[in-house]
């Protein structure tokens, strides 16, 4: 039954989306979530709102109205210019306490997965991580479905006795759809203390190399030990560049020093779910598969037809990568 606020659950109404604003733009996942929230709100017959946090936000909020928000709450404060868990969580919590939404959603980005657990803990409510499907049950509860055990198991989770019901949602699973309603923008004033943080942000260094931004890439070309040596890893990088994608690597490739650890995909690296994941010279050990099996299209290039990577591939290419990849690169160049 929990130990949270015993106040009346029916006092909570409406579906909220945390709008992630970073480096001068709203993260795509926020539009995806807003579209999903709009549909859930219509199903329940309740309003749908976005909450935008940041600094110098003039002109940013209207785009959120286009994706179905009835209200966009704007929390604009200089202390929100750089992300800190405390200032972001504490100001969002203050607004939730005042307005009482019944559902609160955020992207399962590094930002969402970092500060949303603090929001849930301060509000003393449940939080479901990294959902890939959301629905409303017959009795009006949020049904939150998520992969666990590296994607080998799916679980549906509810939060029956505390509010709001909270979830982070995996990017690129829901589709952003424009759906403008005559929404309004509301600037929110909150007490100064909610913008404090004990953490000092000394430096924010954006990754300039786009082939390194795995979590945001629509295309990831990954290389494994099959590439044999560092020079050959260039093949993977060239293909990724040509397709405007990111470069991934198996742990073996990282251990060989062909790619930095931040590129590692898998259990002890990153979990990714791009539109296209292409595994080149990767055998498909379970520790690799759990990090990429959520990808939409999976192409495997391996000379061993028995390689386990083919079990999760949507398209299998049994070939010598040193023949296949250069030929495929030529084919792409011919088109472009």
């Amino acid at each position: 039954v929990g130990t949270g606020p015993k106040d009346d659950l029916s006092a909570y109404r409406g579906i909220w989306v945390f709008a992630e604003w970073r480096q001068g733009a709203i993260h795509r996942v926020s539009f995806e979530l807003l579209s999903a929230a709009r549909k859930l709100a219509d199903k329940k017959g309740v309003p749908c709102a976005a909450v935008l946090l940041g600094s110098d936000l003039d002109g940013v909020a209207p785009s959120l109205l286009e994706y179905g928000a009835d209200t966009v709450y704007v929390i604009d404060h200089p202390n929100l210019a750089a992300f800190t868990d405390e200032a972001y969580a504490d100001s969002l919590v203050a607004l939730v306490r005042e307005k009482k939404p019944e559902i609160l959603l955020a992207g399962a980005t590094t930002m969402g997965r970092s500060f949303i657990p603090r929001v849930a803990a301060l509000l003393q409510t449940g939080l479901t991580a990294d959902c890939t499907d959301l629905d409303i049950s017959e009795d009006g509860l949020l049904l939150q479905t998520r992969p666990a055990f590296g994607g080998n198991v799916m679980a549906t989770i509810i939060c029956p006795n505390s509010r709001p019901q909270m979830a982070t949602v995996r990017p690129r699973v829901m589709r952003p759809e424009k759906d403008a309603r005559n929404g309004r923008i509301e600037k929110v004033d909150l007490p100064e203390e909610v913008f404090r943080s004990r953490v000092e942000v000394l430096e924010v260094i954006p990754e300039e190399d786009t082939t390194a931004r795995l979590s945001e890439a629509e295309v990831i070309i990954s290389g494994g030990r099959g590439l044999q040596k560092a020079e050959n890893f260039r093949l993977v990088e060239e293909l990724a560049q040509l397709m405007k994608g990111a470069v991934g690597a198996s742990r073996s490739a990282v251990e060989e020093g062909w790619a930095p650890p931040s590129h590692q995909v898998g259990q002890t690296g990153q979990t990714v779910a791009p539109t296209l994941y292409m595994a080149v010279g990767i055998s498909g050990a379970i520790q690799h598969i759990v990090g990429m099996q959520g990808s939409k299209v999976i192409v495997a290039v391996n000379k061993d037809p028995e390689a386990p990577i083919f079990d999760v591939a949507s398209c299998g290419v049994v070939a010598d990568l040193f023949e296949f990849i250069p030929a495929f690169i030529q084919r792409l160049k011919k088109e472009g």
């Binding site: 929990g2 130990t3 868990d85 405390e86 969580a89 590094t110 930002m111 997965r113 970092s114 657990p117 603090r118 803990a121 449940g126 939080l127 991580a129 992969p147 666990a148 055990f149 590296g150 080998n152 198991v153 679980a155 549906t156 989770i157 509810i158 939060c159 029956p160 006795n161 943080s197 004990r198 953490v199 000092e200 260094i205 990754e207 979590s215 945001e216 295309v219 650890p261 931040s262 259990q267 002890t268 539109t275 296209l276 379970i286 759990v290 299209v297 192409v299 591939a313 949507s314 398209c315 299998g316 290419v317 070939a319 023949e323 296949f324 030929a327 495929f328 084919r331 792409l332 088109e335």
Partner: protein, 263 residues
């Protein structure tokens, strides 16, 4: 300086599956390992200890056999360990897990630094660390790949985000969740293994850490798992045939049809 490392025993990923008849998780015969990220957390703590001196305590909440995991890290140089084990802890969600760990850390007392892994490879939520820090009312930093002390009571960390890297300074006590880059785990040494074998590991139940039944385990959880099932299997696999040139052409068309960007 007192450091606590939170470690979790998890089923080895290879063997986890859903029973097609009962639609429940099959746990029988599944080997347990230490959550890989928690071995990195242990390593991060031991490196701080090597550099600056510290007393490192490992804590786990789990069934009696989780003691194995604690003996393993004692063998790597952790100073002592606590097992939180009680039937009442069973079925905890991340909030109830964090509540139990917070109570244990309060009982240990005077802790300057807490290490967690980035996430556990079974529950996969990455929520316990931030929730634990929030309950203890201390600052935290997630996704940390490098760290060191910065003066007597501050910590400087490098974190990796979706957009790049960030450098933060935190006052201690603080909690850190770590990535693989903090360092590969050292192997157990003979000397520490001997000590680990003989070490007595206290087992704390809910009363020992001052909690009541309704705050822990299933009854202290806000979330409930109502269904587990196997992910839909891919039924759409195609294997390309023919010469390399033919395969290249087929893949090109396949990706066009799938509307993959970047072509």
């Amino acid at each position: 300086m007192k450091i606590v490392v939170c470690i979790k025993q998890v089923p080895d990923a290879k063997n986890v599956r859903i029973d097609p008849n009962t639609h429940t998780l099959v746990r029988q015969g599944v080997e347990s390992i230490i959550n890989p990220f928690d071995l990195f957390a242990v390593e991060a703590a031991l490196r701080l200890k090597d550099r600056h001196g510290a007393h490192v305590t490992a804590v786990t909440m789990g069934p009696p056999q989780a003691e194995e995991a604690l003996r393993d890290v004692l063998g790597r140089g952790v100073d002592d360990a606590v097992l939180l084990s009680d039937r009442a802890f069973a079925g905890a969600d991340t909030w109830a897990t964090a509540t139990a760990l917070a109570a244990a850390i309060r009982k240990i007392g005077d802790v300057s630094l807490i290490f967690c892994g980035k996430q556990a490879i079974d529950g996969d939520t990455a929520q316990v660390g931030p929730e634990l820090a929030t309950i203890l009312d201390i600052p935290y930093a997630t996704f940390v790949k490098e760290l060191d002390l910065d003066g007597p009571d501050h910590l400087k960390v490098v974190r990796r985000t979706d957009e790049g890297t960030e450098i933060w300074r935190l006052p201690m006590p603080a909690l850190i969740t770590v990535l693989r880059e903090v360092g590969d785990p050292r192997v157990p040494s003979l000397k520490h293994k001997m000590r680990a074998k003989k070490a007595s590991i206290p087992v704390w139940g809910i009363r020992d850490v001052g909690l009541e039944e309704d705050r822990v385990g299933l009854s202290g959880s806000y979330t409930q798992v109502v269904r587990v099932f196997s992910p839909p299997r891919r039924s759409d696999r195609v294997m390309l045939q023919g010469s390399v040139e033919e395969q290249v052409e087929q893949l090109y068309r396949y990706l066009k049809e799938a509307k993959v960007p970047g072509l």
